[in-house]
Symmetry: C2
Subunit: 600 residues, 2 copies
Amino acid sequence: MLNKFCKKPLYEVTQTMARVATGAEPAELVIKNAKLVNVCTCEIQEGIDVAIACGRIALVGDASHCIGDGTKVIDAAGQYIAPGFMDAHIHVESAMLTVREYARAVVPHGTTGIFMDPHEICNVCGPDGVKAMIEDAKGSPLKAMSNVPSCVPAVAGFEDTGSSIGPDEVREMMTWDGIMGLGEMMSFPNVLSAEPNIHGELRETLKADQVITGHYSVPETGPGLNAYIASGVRCCHESTRAEDVLEKMRRGMYALLRYGSAWHDMPIIIRAILDNNIDDRFACLISDDSHADTVLNEGHLDYIVRLAIKEGLDPIKAIQYVTINPATCFRMDHEMGSIAPGKCADIVFFDDLQDIRITRTIIDGDVVAENGEMTVTIEPSKFPDYTYNTMHVGEDITADSFRIAAPEGAGSSARARVMEIIPNHVGNYERLIELPVEGGYVEADKSQDVMKLAVIERHKATGTKGLGFVTGFGFTKGAMAQTVAHDAHNLLVAGTNDEDMALAANTLIECGGGLCAVANGKVLSVLPLPIAGLMSDKSAKEVADMNEELAAAWKDMGCVINSPYMTMALMALACLPEIRLTNRGMVDCRTFEFIDLFTE
Amino acid sequence: MLNKFCKKPLYEVTQTMARVATGAEPAELVIKNAKLVNVCTCEIQEGIDVAIACGRIALVGDASHCIGDGTKVIDAAGQYIAPGFMDAHIHVESAMLTVREYARAVVPHGTTGIFMDPHEICNVCGPDGVKAMIEDAKGSPLKAMSNVPSCVPAVAGFEDTGSSIGPDEVREMMTWDGIMGLGEMMSFPNVLSAEPNIHGELRETLKADQVITGHYSVPETGPGLNAYIASGVRCCHESTRAEDVLEKMRRGMYALLRYGSAWHDMPIIIRAILDNNIDDRFACLISDDSHADTVLNEGHLDYIVRLAIKEGLDPIKAIQYVTINPATCFRMDHEMGSIAPGKCADIVFFDDLQDIRITRTIIDGDVVAENGEMTVTIEPSKFPDYTYNTMHVGEDITADSFRIAAPEGAGSSARARVMEIIPNHVGNYERLIELPVEGGYVEADKSQDVMKLAVIERHKATGTKGLGFVTGFGFTKGAMAQTVAHDAHNLLVAGTNDEDMALAANTLIECGGGLCAVANGKVLSVLPLPIAGLMSDKSAKEVADMNEELAAAWKDMGCVINSPYMTMALMALACLPEIRLTNRGMVDCRTFEFIDLFTE
């Protein structure tokens, strides 16, 4: 794949590279006397210099002869250097930040490249939304390589979104600068059943010589997984068991070990590697979804690398998992992912190999961050008008909007299919729970920790909505609402009572989308996300602060888990097991059928 | 890189792949119950089935459900299966066979893919010669992926060839079907000095998103090696010391460990890996040059794999070195190099992991060889007319043609720069030897094992020739001639006396090129190579038999080393250290300057 994410393509500067390496021309920058984390051979080399010009590495070894007038020299004595970290699967929107603000937050943590799948904004604004993300990214030094979202809507026929993607869109978008690969192919049932439209997307991606990224979220490693990989899918971040990881790697699929703000799969699934003496070239560490506060307080890939080391992974291997391995996954290892001659000069510095804390980040040969702060200016994002004002609800929302009629013949209670969350994991369980019936309507039940849930279409004012129940959050009062609700990003409301649910919904309709907490008829906290109802135009710090205020409000409302909005946001994502609610109704995600909310 | 070397591109058959893997459609072929050499995870998995359709692997695991009416089943109980072997650097012409005959010889040994650099025929016939090789390859199941020869002539300005390649030719040829990568960039001094023409070739290759293959044959791993790699060269097969291999791999360069018929570098240089606990993903095993008799009697990559195992390399790793590693080197690992869903069904069978003897070869899902024999028909090669009749010598050759005038002021002897060969290695040494002067002419000297050497231009009848001396072969009588003489493929003649040298030269001029042995005015043996003076149109067996006859003749003439013609053939290759002879004269290959044959 040609690299369109560098300062200068190698083919323009091979002569300069040769001249700088041989000393015929001085380097622009020389790093002296570092301890090199060599991800090519998996070893530490001491006393290594790196000479840099035109944004690329000209020499690794002794660079004394590369220093001339005007060469900037960084003394790295006592410090480690490693290739810049790359996240092979990330949704920037999940941080509720623009790409530039996301970059400002993660680059000081050593992230130099991301393979972003902007399918959230695509569900709201279509391909133009993807274009807006790519354009936004150009204002930051971070290499933000965008996938073409593959599943918009996530589960066609089961939900309504603002846009849709098919083979024609994929073919067109694959020609864009800024695109690398197809985003997570969540419609694995359609892959397995050879559905023509989904296979059309795979075909257009492969014809464009691009990489298909995956999302295979069921614990099946037989015919289904084989069919999925055989259809051309190269990587998958949805493993939840060590055996999933092992079977994927055995079949030449890159296993992306996830540790996101809300999904903590890595410590379990990394056992596949730690407990088996296998070649791990197909392993990567990724975040998938990182919140602003996680990035600010813990870090990004540096944090996940530290955690993997704590689990027992060799530090150099952990660094391979965020450098050469993801680069090879995307067939970009000739350009990125190692500190080697000819490669982009994306380099991070740190002092302790066992507890990696990034002190300096270099991208394309420029020092862009030091000691936790950007050292270059990133202009504020300017998203186009069409990404603002995306709340189009086809019904005046009142408390009555959330009434759920009891099934025919119900007495004082009705047996409902309730979604039970699994804290910090993306799956959920179907639970059959008896709920009270009052005046012909089924109610939420605090005594059983069951809230009402509503998914209200908000893109094209169709007036459609789905109603159901959820358990596991612990809320004792109030309601929360959000437009993040994956992946259709409809207006999702959960509450203990209908009045607070209505207030929460209307609060977000008014501010253009976002998150809010409401109790006893009062708005406790709101985080406006005016860009597509997904992203703030504020800084990571401001978003994190608002998030913290929201978290306090949710805690005050009785919530017992961290990041409840994130777990809540997946209750509408009909490609994850076991059952989900969309604006069209309740879906069994194991069989992909609509099901009744009530059962015998 | 799009794969143009498969039965069907994956993008055309993803639906079939999914249907076969899930059992909705029967497989064409199922391999049952094999011991899988899993090169992805570097482990052996027992009881593995492989389901195949459309030339590709649909499933790896339990394929019971993939067997239907018409499915061919191979019971592999007790047998190992591994991905087909790939040679990342090979000159087919060196076997003196057409591509089809080469395929017929190596496919039964498990070779399913080669990255061939047809620079020999290109030196004689130009790009049309490359095209002829690609067309010839289409008549065999072997995946013969052709590089664009980069250095034609090998050392511009120092020799005369039948054609030349520059940036324009590279740009044009990169668009051809059948091309993958740029052939070995032997002009490393021009890479290091940033020479515009050579860097133009690099530029056109990188712009075409192709891989540049290398040839860095000096024991320098500092500024020069860095400059070479930084210019975009991805692999190199010219290491002669373990430290060369280590330093190349450390800089992200694929180290191609060579064991050719005449160059036995591997056992020495593999110590880089065996003696260091390093990641070896950048290591490959290659042949570079394999003769017909080696292939018939010993094998091809299977032979080299066996030898590497004998040196102490883990057998699974040895197999990685000829499968997934070369595939990744050429950024084709998504298509080839592993037994994994979606990949081309290129599979080999064998019984003993410690002593690998291939019993069956499958290419693109077809059983193409069993028990050492092809099981499919390969039609005879039909090379175009322009590849025949390529002997154009501009002088009537007589004994006088080989006279070497003594330097001015010489007495009974003269001090000559004599090339001393290093048996089984490509390098040579400059030796200063006193040679007898008779009647004003310097003579060969059997007592010191010094023969005369002549390089006569034979492409455009320029009438130019170079004369010199060589030592180390042990010939006590006669002469040998050849048109293989790398890389200009001029008419090279070595002899103990001028009369036999003239007979040897004229014998080859008459038969269109080849090899011959002459002694005491008689032709002892001749191997005609009518295609470009490089290749026979006969089978490997016939060529090997003729070779054997030649070898016997050479032995009878006193020769003390194996494959003398191969070592001899490099005496004209001015990119190898230390000194060489071309049709323009003697060259110091360390400084790239013409030098006098005689010195003080």
